[in-house]
């Protein structure tokens, strides 16, 4: 059992917190039909990180996160420009912007030969949850040991702070977010500042994606921005319940996915383990599939009439 605390407790907690905060924001992305923005931002984190490495020459987390943040900002501006100048819909603009920037990142990586450093596409995509080992975590008693706690991987504190920030953002802006998502014109007329709230939401998505990306890989981020909220939408017609369901489903995906990746192959008699991030994303996808097949609100009157 002491193995569990050392090897699995921290990655599992990080996965759970990441999934919860991404799913929370995902509710509003799904309602605004902006789900792709999470995808876009997590993809462009790669070129951002490579660029920051090329400029600063370090792999310090702060430099990487600033690089990813700048890349996210450039992407958001680029999406807005393509949308306005090209007069195309948002999803098309996002598709163009993030694939182009991501591709640029791959080229930058290869051209510089940074592969010698621990910085590669696979790491970026699948994350490295399993490597977040708590060496001082010798058993449950370590949770009360100040010295052992100091040794916790820094990613844990980082994703926790971000999760707290997400919760505060949603509590403070809950009404403006809902009104702006439902009826942006009305929101503008009552000075609920939908454009500002929109920008803040995208910024929160970027911050969450980047923190999660570094801890758990972008595949989890992309899945968690979409799957739990989309599944929850099929289970209820009430926003509060939808958010609650998205949290339950995100937690189930995180824990079940992690356990299945670690122990699933063993149960089948195979001596191997699978990528936790990949398995978590897969589980959330399967939950979405089940919701599509059996959710009570998969066919809605409003959609049919519109």
């Amino acid at each position: 059992m002491s193995d569990f605390v050392m090897l699995s407790l921290v990655p599992m907690t990080i996965a759970a917190i990441t999934c919860l905060s991404c799913a929370l924001l995902g509710n509003f992305l799904v309602l605004r039909r902006q789900s792709l923005i999470g995808d876009a931002i997590s993809h462009v984190a790669l070129p951002g990180i490579v660029a920051s490495f090329l400029i600063t020459g370090t792999l310090a987390a702060s430099a990487m996160m600033i690089g990813a943040g700048v890349a996210a900002l450039i992407t958001v501006v680029m999406i807005e420009l393509i949308k306005r100048l090209g007069q195309v819909e948002a999803s098309a603009a996002m598709g163009v912007a993030f694939t182009a920037i991501f591709a640029l990142g791959v080229l930058m990586l290869e051209w510089h030969g940074a592969s010698g450093v621990h910085l590669d596409v696979e790491h970026a995509l699948y994350g490295n949850l399993e490597s977040l080992i708590w060496f001082e975590g010798l058993g449950w008693h370590s949770l009360f040991d100040r010295q052992a706690l100091a040794d916790l991987p820094p990613q844990l504190a980082r994703v926790s702070w971000v999760a707290l920030l997400v919760v505060v953002f949603l509590v403070v802006f809950r009404r403006a977010l809902v009104i702006g998502s439902f009826d942006a014109e009305f929101a503008a007329s009552i000075k609920a500042r939908p454009a500002v709230v929109d920008l803040l939401l995208v910024m929160m998505v970027a911050i969450t994606a980047i923190a999660a990306f570094e801890a758990a890989g972008s595949i989890i981020v992309i899945a968690m921005f979409i799957c739990p909220a989309a599944s929850a939408r099929l289970l209820t017609n009430h926003l509060g319940q939808q958010i609650a369901w998205s949290q339950v489903l995100a937690l189930v995906s995180a824990l079940l996915g992690y356990v299945l990746a670690g122990y699933g192959p063993g149960w089948l008699g195979l001596d191997m383990s699978l990528s936790a991030a990949g398995m978590i994303a897969t589980v959330s996808g399967l939950i979405l599939l089940l919701a599509c097949l059996f959710g009570p609100y998969r066919q809605r009157d409003g959609a049919a009439r519109a």
Binding site: F182, F186, A188, A192, R300, D301
Partner: protein, 265 residues
């Protein structure tokens, strides 16, 4: 326009001057002046693409304007937006949104609730009261996607009522609603007018202008005519606004519906 000096503008719930909006190169609204008379019920009339909705959206700060001045009781809209309630076109929102009728009406109370405040019984009662004024109180817990077009329009009206504003701006409130709903909405609007509120309404059905409204603003990108219905709502002005596309029979029916009816009888 010096709003501080002009008593007409200081008293008007919405005065626009030189308002110009452009999508791309072509202006959608060009240099429109209009002073809404307080306590009036004004129809904004013009053909499709005349910039009626755009004019309102620019006045409300929803669409960016190229130039022009917008005053609410003599002060800029940004300071005075509390006095204005806006009912957008029904088709402008996603009715599949997970919200109940009551949730939507409560959106009208946005200004009264700071972020740390919870929604209380009193707010709920206010929203229910507005719903009962449009005859929708039985639908309060209904998912908005399950409503008919006329019911959706009445929910939007209830959301504006709960704002208790001096000026209500409606963008085609009668589009796609049946005759009974139209009558119910008109009754609510007229009761608002009787209480001294001002109404500004994009309207399409020329035949009902005389029955419903006391003032008109005819536009076709530029302002064509404005004033009390009996002065400004003339066949010459209509022909100008619609580019001569109305027939004489249509015009006769619109300008003098009573005469037309007696003729037919």
């Amino acid at each position: 326009m010096n709003a501080a000096l002009d008593p007409e503008i200081a008293a008007s719930p919405l005065a626009v001057h030189g308002l110009t909006v452009s999508y791309g190169r072509k202006p959608a609204v060009y240099s429109v002046d209009f002073v809404t008379p307080p306590g009036s019920m004004t129809a904004i009339i013009g053909p499709n693409g005349a910039g009626k909705s755009t004019l309102l959206k620019a006045a409300l700060g929803i669409t960016r304007r190229l130039s022009g001045d917008v005053r609410v009781f003599g002060k800029p809209y940004a300071e005075q937006s509390r006095h204005v309630a806006y009912v957008p076109q029904r088709s402008s929102v996603d009715w599949d949104f997970p919200a109940t009728v009551l949730d939507v009406v409560m959106m009208g109370l946005y200004r009264d609730l700071r972020w740390w405040q919870l929604t209380r019984r009193r707010h709920r009662d206010q929203a229910m009261q507005s719903l009962s004024r449009v005859g929708m109180e039985a639908f309060a817990e209904r998912q908005i996607g399950q409503l008919s077009g006329g019911q959706q329009q009445r929910v939007f009206l209830a959301r504006a009522l709960v704002q208790d504003a001096e000026l209500m701006i409606l963008d085609e409130p009668f589009a796609g609603v049946d005759a009974a709903t139209e009558k119910a909405i008109v009754e609510v609007l007229k009761s608002l007018k009787a209480r001294g509120k001002t109404l500004l309404c994009v309207h399409h059905d020329l035949a009902t202008v005389r029955d419903y409204f006391d003032h008109v603003l005819l536009i076709n990108v530029r302002r064509v005519a404005a004033g009390p219905v009996h002065q400004a709502f003339t066949s010459a002005a209509l022909q100008e606004a619609y580019g001569g596309r109305l027939s004489d029979v249509q015009l006769a029916r619109i300008i003098c519906p009573a005469a037309h009816l007696t003729q037919r009888a």
